[in-house]
């Protein structure tokens, strides 16, 4: 087991940084809106700060529709951002396609959820990997160089012997093998950061861990910075050094994975953890606890609730939550553990104590 690094440790170099990243998708205006000044937008991601460090895995956990995939796509520069900043090695990136995009994505690569859709069914594995190597200039000068690079890539993702896989088509491989090819293709660019958008949720349960363990091995050996997006908070605990929880487009809690999963601070994180399947809670013994708390659904992101976006579902909602947007507050039980919740405001606590 790898030790969990201190969340505040400055040891690892920052690779990719998002600073108050925001993305609003415009909503098509109806005829009657043409005469008004109303401009609706889906607030997919609002004011998100995220730091990926070399050799660390950051997990982003949230329900579907919470904006986690949008963050990955923003970081991969597949969408233009509405506001905020993405910094690669401390430098602001302005990417609009073309050579700048190539240069950017040779350092930041993405792995998609569905390996059945992300590989071209009409091409062999050799073609997929060769393209990645050539485009990013890692193919070497001669045919032998290329062959060596191909074999090295396949060995790195534990598809051995490599010769057996090189000339196969994607349909001849199982889901886990395909996802490994997709990872190898991402590695062909020799990236410094990997953005993995639910890399295992389409795979069979028995092979998910194999792929997660592979990614962790790559983190250690290649010193990659990995963003791991998932809805399964248990796998975030297993795999990630740090865990961030998202709700309705905003970050609500963050800290090292063990702290966030073992002593969750934000009411939403608690709800998420209470809802996860737990084999120790056997049939019949499951109590009604938490059932009331979880009622309701994520809010509309076109007109998100004022104040804290979780307040309509929150069992601890106070007057302040309805009007004022909570800021990230230090919890104090472990370094780097924070939650965007007024419950942890010192003034508020003092008032309650009185």
């Amino acid at each position: 087991m790898t030790s969990i690094p201190d969340a505040k440790a400055p040891a690892a170099e920052v690779v990719l940084e998002a600073i108050s990243l925001t993305k609003h998708f415009p909503v098509r205006r109806k005829l009657r809106d043409l005469f008004s000044h109303r401009k609706d937008a889906v607030h997919a991601v609002d004011d998100v700060n995220l730091t990926l460090r070399r050799g660390q895995v950051v997990a982003l956990v949230g329900e579907s529709g919470s904006g986690k995939s949008t963050i990955a796509r923003l970081l991969a520069q597949l969408y233009p951002r509405t506001s905020g900043d993405i910094r690669l090695h401390g430098e602001t990136t302005k990417v609009k396609g073309g050579a700048a995009f190539r240069r950017y994505c040779s350092q930041v690569q993405m792995i998609f959820q569905d390996p059945f859709a992300s590989l071209n069914p009409t091409h062999t594995i050799r073609y997929h990997l060769t393209r990645s190597l050539k485009i990013h200039g890692n193919a070497g000068k001669t045919a032998e160089d290329l062959d060596r690079a191909l074999i090295e890539l396949l060995e790195r993702v534990q598809l051995t012997p490599p010769e057996r896989y090189l000339d196969k088509f994607p349909h001849e491989l199982s889901g886990g093998q395909r996802q490994r090819v997709a990872i190898a293709r991402a590695l062909g660019a020799r990236p410094e950061a990997l953005l993995a958008d639910e890399p295992v949720s389409m795979l069979d349960v028995s092979i998910r861990l194999g792929v997660l363990n592979l990614l962790r091995d790559l983190r250690d050996r290649l010193n990659l910075a990995i963003l791991y997006i998932t809805h399964d908070i248990a796998s975030a605990r297993y795999f990630a050094d740090q865990t961030m929880v998202m709700y309705a487009g905003r970050m609500v809690e963050g800290g090292d994975s063990e702290t966030v999963t073992q002593s969750p601070a934000h009411p939403y994180t608690r709800l998420l953890i209470d809802s996860a399947p737990d084999p120790d809670r056997l049939a019949g013994t499951s109590d009604a606890e938490g059932e009331d708390a979880g009622n309701g659904e994520p809010p509309s992101l076109i007109h998100p609730p004022a104040g804290c976006r979780f307040h309509p579902r929150c069992p601890f909602a106070m007057e302040r939550c309805r009007t004022e947007l909570p800021v990230p507050l230090e919890i104090g039980d472990a370094p780097g553990h924070w939650a965007a919740c007024w419950l942890y405001d010192q003034n508020e606590k003092a008032e309650v104590a009185q």
Binding site: L209, Y238, P277, L282
Partner: protein
């Protein structure tokens, strides 16, 4: 244990004909008892959905049932074989006796009809003598039962959230008070919070209405929590069947153990997990003997040669469970 309500005997299902046929379900024996939740777990391609479609005769061609029996015990009267029903009898049997909630049920509602129309349609087909107002009253009652306000009756499916659509589907499945409800991955498209709510509600309804559930999923940790008994499928066969607690505490088959070890735990110490090496078998070229032996960490000589039969193991809790593994040889085959 209570009386059986559905007994599957030596069921075989193939896709295609002749030499090209793929045997998706092989010699499956399974009994569902009245009022219980039976979990069916396995990887994709293990045949769990095919088994569900086979026993309800919903298999689309080229799927063919090549042998076996599915005995249904109605509340009153003689048991009969579902596979032997005529089309007419089958129409009466379906939905009234067994209902099925499909994977991605939220997409199985017709988008151009109101919820009320779709709910009352079921009653129109099965209870032709029911009056219009009685049908509406019943539909409203069902919606209330699954926790949807009755004023959503006139909503179209797109006006409801995924969780609500799933509830409507469950309500529709229960509207004729069937004895058996089959749920094929009912919550995979939902979030964990919604998943827990819906399953909690389903368990509560089952206690109230007394139907039995076959719950198909690949999420074993969910099954351990919500079902009474669990059957684990691999390569078209049932490899182990036991009470949920027994599977969780001490699974006998190495595959069940591997499957349990594939879920990172949210509580307790963090440990290194490996999953199961290798990949699921190709149904066209099944390994000889036990189909799990190429991936099995404990495989020894008999495994590659002979197919283990499902039988009672020699453990103290032997009578309540069965396993198909040469590590636990048996004298008492099931079925």
């Amino acid at each position: 244990m209570s009386d059986p309500v559905l007994e599957i005997r030596n069921l075989n299902v193939e896709y295609g004909l002749g030499d090209q046929a793929v045997r998706a379900v092989r010699d499956v024996n399974l009994t569902l008892h009245r009022g219980e939740v039976l979990g069916l777990a396995g990887e994709s391609g293990s045949g769990k959905s095919t088994l569900a479609y086979g026993m309800t005769r919903l298999l689309a061609p080229p799927g063919v049932i090549t042998g076996g029996q599915v005995l249904y015990h109605p509340e009153q009267g003689e048991a009969y074989d579902v596979l032997g029903l005529s089309d007419r009898e089958l129409r009466g049997f379906r939905w009234a006796e067994t209902a099925i909630v499909f994977q991605g049920a939220m997409n199985s509602l017709n988008p151009v009809h109101k919820i009320s129309t779709q709910l009352t349609d079921v009653l129109k087909a099965h209870r032709p003598d029911m009056s219009e107002s009685a049908r509406h009253a019943r539909a409203r009652e069902m919606l209330k039962l699954v926790g949807i306000a009755a004023d959503r009756m006139d909503a179209y499916p797109h006006q409801l959230s995924g969780g609500m659509r799933q509830r409507v589907m469950i309500g529709m499945a229960l509207i004729l008070q069937p004895q058996v409800v089959i749920m094929d991955e009912p919550t995979t498209a939902l979030d964990v919070v919604m998943q827990r709510q819906i399953l909690g509600q389903l368990i509560e309804l089952r206690e109230r209405l007394g139907f039995s559930v076959i719950f198909i999923t690949h999420d074993l940790s969910l099954l351990v929590e919500f079902s009474n008994r669990i059957a684990i499928m691999y390569g078209g066969r049932i490899v182990e069947e036991a009470p949920a607690a027994a599977i969780y505490r001490d699974a006998l088959h190495p595959y069940s153990k591997g499957l349990l070890g594939s879920f990172p735990a949210l509580r307790g110490p963090r440990r290194e997990l490996t999953g199961i090496p290798g990949s699921p078998p190709d149904l066209k070229g099944m390994p000889s003997g036990c189909s799990f032996h190429p991936r099995c960490p404990k495989a020894f000589e008999p495994c590659s040669g002979n197919i283990p039969v499902l039988g009672r193991p020699g453990t103290p809790d032997g009578p309540s469970r069965s396993v198909a593994c040469w590590l636990h040889p048996t004298e008492q085959p099931v079925g």
